[in-house]
């Protein structure tokens, strides 16, 4: 099939529709606006509902209602709006409802700015709201990958009855790239015997996250923990780039990983054995990617658009066996390939490696 040119934000919308999502609730915020614009047109065409809510708080609770009623549903926002959604995401996780939440990350804290950033990594990968819970986090790095990951996002949400976050940034959202959409499938949404759709002659169903008796909440928490452990063992995803014989390994996700690929190429041209690990799942973190490299490389350099958040996960994965360095830009500034190359040269073969 022919390729079509699409913006990242539009690809999220089209990917969601092709994944069988028919409901979107959201509140406007830059830099994700092309997504609601796209879905406001597209969802009515396929018999779905696009509804602009009065706030992100309302949006995530509409998602809770729609998900509990058995729908494939999503919402989308950026930094400040995602912060407002955290209570609702905690309820969704507690009630084990599947849904997809898009965060096109912008600069923070506070109102920050609308430029691209990755500084919501902690919020995304550590649960974000109150209580012991996890959200599956996917980080696409191209418009094509957005299309592929949207389907995966809804499938994982259903498989594990858990919220899934798709984390991008303003560059990815605005970027136009040719994509292969493939045949439009007639998506079969898995049955949802737990959904509260009215009894219609059947058993009573309840969508709930309240367990007032401590023994019961502990059992519920342990059940969630077993689910998270299963996800961590089965769903780690990453891309490896030119890791053959690498002495120094870059680690970066999303837009920054694309810059780092250019860095790797330049370094290799200059004879430096540099490679890249690009996490695709930010939670579960792809720890498995690091195991085969232990004892074979000198060091790691984590590059992020933040003051250093994912670097903590790399340190956990490496567990003191190799030095883990960090280079970052923040506030909406992008790491420049030449600067990263400089950083690599400083570290490569140097002391403390």
């Amino acid at each position: 099939m022919a390729k079509v040119l699409m913006k990242g934000n539009e690809a999220i919308g089209e990917g969601a529709v092709r994944a069988g999502c028919r409901y979107f609730f959201g509140y406007p915020i830059t830099p994700q606006s092309e997504l609601p614009h796209y879905l406001a047109k597209r969802l009515p065409e396929v018999g779905g509902v696009y509804l602009q809510s009065e706030s992100e708080t309302a949006a995530i609770n509409m998602v809770y209602g729609a998900a509990g009623a058995g729908a494939r549903v999503m919402t989308s926002s950026s930094g400040p709006g995602i912060s407002l959604m955290q209570e609702g995401i905690s309820y969704l996780a507690g009630a084990e409802l599947p849904c997809v939440i898009v965060n096109m990350i912008r600069g923070g804290p506070g109102l920050g700015n609308i430029a691209p950033a990755q500084s919501d990594y902690f919020q995304a990968t550590r649960g974000g709201g109150h209580g012991d819970y996890r959200v599956i986090v996917l980080a696409p790095a191209s418009v094509q990958e957005i299309i592929d990951l949207m389907r995966l996002a809804f499938d994982l949400a259903d498989r594990y009855r858990n919220p899934v976050m798709v984390a991008g940034d303003g560059i990815l959202g605005q970027m136009m790239e040719p994509v292969e959409l493939g045949e439009e499938e007639d998506v079969q949404i898995p049955p949802r015997p737990w959904a509260a759709t009215g009894r219609m002659g059947g058993e009573k169903k309840l969508i709930n996250s309240l367990y007032i008796v401590p023994e019961e909440l502990e059992q519920h928490n342990l059940k969630l923990a077993r689910k998270y452990a299963l996800i961590a063992s089965k769903e780690q995803r990453w891309e490896e780039y030119r890791l053959d014989g690498a002495r120094l390994v870059l680690v970066a996700f999303g837009t920054v990983a694309r810059i780092c690929k250019a860095v790797v190429d330049r370094c290799r041209e200059e004879g430096l054995a540099v490679g890249l690990i690009r996490p695709i799942t930010l939670w579960p973190y792809p720890q498995k990617a690091f195991e085969p490299l232990m004892g074979k490389v000198d060091s790691f350099l984590v590059v992020e658009m933040s003051l250093g958040q994912m670097v903590e996960d790399v340190r956990l994965a490496v567990n003191g066996r190799h030095p883990v360095h960090f280079y970052g830009r923040c506030g909406g500034m992008l790491p420049v390939a030449a600067d990263v190359v400089q950083e690599v040269k400083k570290l490569y073969g140097g002391e403390g490696n």
């Binding site: 309302a58 509409m62 209602g65 309820y91 759709t197």
Partner: protein, 248 residues
């Protein structure tokens, strides 16, 4: 022999946690009777709030959701948009609906969402220990207004029925009371109308029920009903604030 008084099908046969003299139980029963009478039990979905009535999800025997504090109207919006042919209701206290959830109730009403809201105005935050609610009367003593609610500090009580009835999206808004049998019968009629308005697809419907909380008011059950009649009704006049021509 003909049975003239039984438990409604829509309520579970279990004891509630409500205090003696609490009127939450009466309102549960009225809602359940209406659901039975309209024969909509099998396609009704309820949304319970955070507040003393949080366990309403255990007491109503239809499918239920538990919503975060104040967000029941957003949750109900999500449900009803996915399942437009189901009957959806929320059951919310005055802290839930008229303070933390003001945004959600106003916009659900403005959008004309086709679900029914049962709004329990007991002039107090009961569950958390009797703090001032947005509906607490001027001069009323609560655990956070120990000298009585003062307009210069806390402003004025919020009149939800009056406020929502001016929105074009609302189809039915009524304020009722359950402090004596005659008013309980009127309350039942209003609740029935609200569900009928939803069934007819006419828009948003809400019934505000003036309700007693003897425990946090520090009164006996009988005194609490008397206090309600003498103090709440003058400030919160009863009546139908909005009704469509279609329902008499």
């Amino acid at each position: 022999m003909k049975k003239v008084f039984t438990r409604p099908r829509s309520l579970k046969d279990i004891p509630t946690h409500y205090c003696p003299g609490c009127t939450h139980g009466i309102v549960h029963r009225l809602v359940a009777e209406v659901i039975d009478e309209l024969e909509i039990f099998d396609r009704t979905i309820g949304v319970a709030p955070v507040g003393c009535s949080v366990f309403a999800y255990n007491y109503f025997d239809c499918d239920m959701f538990q919503a975060s504090h104040g967000r029941a109207p957003a949750v109900a919006t999500g449900i009803k948009r996915v399942l437009p042919d189901r009957v959806v209701f929320t059951y919310q206290g005055d802290g839930d609906l008229a303070a933390i959830g003001t945004g959600e109730i106003v916009h659900a009403a403005a959008r004309g969402e086709k679900f029914t809201v049962i709004f329990i105005n007991n002039a107090i935050y009961a569950m958390t220990g009797g703090q001032m609610a947005p509906t607490t009367l001027l001069g009323q003593k609560t655990t956070t207004t120990p000298y009585g609610r003062d307009k210069d500090i806390n402003g004025y009580p919020v009149k939800i029925s009056e406020m929502l009835s001016v929105l074009d999206g609302t189809a039915y808004v009524a304020r009722v009371s359950v402090h004596d049998p005659a008013h309980v019968i009127k309350a039942r009629k209003a609740i029935k109308r609200a569900f009928e308005v939803q069934l007819a697809g006419l828009g948003f419907s809400l019934v505000e029920v003036l309700s007693a909380c003897p425990t946090n008011w520090g009164l006996s059950p009988a005194e609490a009903l008397k206090w309600l009649a003498e103090n709440m009704i003058p400030y919160y006049p009863l009546g139908e604030y909005k009704k469509p021509a279609e329902v008499g």
